[in-house]
């Protein structure tokens, strides 16, 4: 048993995405680890009053995690705080919950996404230190879509098969990409060519780009989620109405 246990043992850097109470004193922990990807671990006894893991297994903080096992749910042995990043505060917490929900809904299990893991770490550090959160979220959404196999077409008009003109107006087909429309066209989403080019360069300095990029990303993510609503988005809207 101990030999097998040693073989199935793994140590990885990771983040807690969410936890659920499990049995009387344990927790089921959804994690996103650098090498292992998204996984579910059981943290035995983590809800006991004096558990060493209590207070460590919180979201948005980089942790050193070790676990063993081979089934769908592995057993967490140890979780240690790596540190170096302040806790998220205020509205940034809601952004964090949103990003975690995106990962839980869109990232397949046990599939390593190391590049995206780094982007996630950057996003968390950004949310902890910067006042403006929009560009951080857009940039992460773009990386996430690319990682799960939906790289956005941003620099080519898919109908005319030509480059994007910053001065023209486009709409966006979630399956194909940008299509030119006349500026006065009726329904649907309208994006400035400049917005598409800005997103391609991760430049969210213009207010118009920020606003249009938000709508475009929402469309694409909703499409990937097959139009099943995100809980964190609904709750954010309810909080804004208070």
């Amino acid at each position: 048993m101990s030999e097998r246990r040693a073989r199935d043992r793994a140590v990885d850097e990771g983040y807690v995405l969410h936890t659920y109470p499990y049995r009387e004193t344990s927790l089921l922990v959804e994690i996103y680890a650098r090498g292992a990807g998204r996984m579910t671990l059981v943290a035995r006894g983590a809800r006991r009053p004096r558990s060493a893991m209590r207070g460590v297994l919180i979201a948005f903080q980089p942790l050193q995690l070790s676990w063993y096992g081979s089934g769908e749910v592995r057993t967490l042995i140890r979780a240690e705080w790596i540190g170096g990043q302040p806790l998220l505060q205020g509205a940034a917490l809601l952004c964090g919950f949103y990003l975690n929900e995106l990962l839980l809904r869109l990232l397949p299990r046990e599939d390593p996404h190391e590049k995206l893991f780094d982007r996630y770490g950057e996003a968390m550090r950004g949310l902890a230190s910067e006042a403006v959160t929009g560009p951080i979220l857009r940039s992460f959404e773009k990386s996430l879509l690319r990682e799960i196999g939906y790289a956005m077409v941003l620099e080519r008009d898919v109908a005319g098969d030509c480059g994007i003109d910053p001065a023209k107006t486009y709409t966006y087909d979630p399956e194909k990409g940008p299509l030119e429309v006349s500026a006065v066209a009726s329904a649907g989403m309208k994006l400035a060519g400049q917005t598409l080019l800005d997103i391609a360069r991760d430049d969210f300095s213009s207010a118009v780009t920020q606003q249009q990029a938000k709508l475009l990303m929402r469309l694409l993510i909703n499409h990937r989620l097959e139009y099943q609503p995100l809980k964190s988005r609904r709750i954010f809207q309810e909080l804004m109405e208070l």
């Binding site: 460590v56 903080q61 302040p86 917490l93 609904r234 909080l239």
Partner: protein, 191 residues
Amino acid sequence: MDALRCMPGVGPKAAQRAAFHLLQYDRPGAQRLASALGRALQTIRRCARCNSFTEEELCALCASAKRDPSLLCVVETPADLLMLEQTLAYNGLYFVLMGRLSPLDGIGPREIGLDVLLERATDGAAREVIVATNFTNEGEATAHYIGEMLRGRGIKVSRIARGIPVGGELEYVDTGTLAQALVERRPVSNA
């Protein structure tokens, strides 16, 4: 046995033991338990002012004339309320959310009754609202939005402090707490 298993900490074995014990050796005890549960279910409801459990319209705390109505302390659960009462350091009133904001579990402002809290906090009596939700991400988010909601309406909102425990030694404090205590350091007062 199935009915007994609905309690936390009671598995199949414990439920079987309890059931046989009650039936074999302690039938009066079983009767007491049954009537106590029945009575509790019929009479216990939520306090109209603080949302905690009570048998009356108002709980004993809210009805007490000795408490300071200008202070309102917001907690997540009745258990948190009892902990704060044990400190004997607080003389104001309470509001129990019966939960916390948890976007990933779909628990939002409606589910924890932030609208009821808003009504209670703006009824004219409270001058300061003390937010004593947990120092988890969910508790912090709850505190932030309670602050946003009330500050705009001219009510002073404060948050309980966090840091090194009383009698704590830095050497034995966990790193997360220590790091946050550094971030949230305060000037040494000369009072």
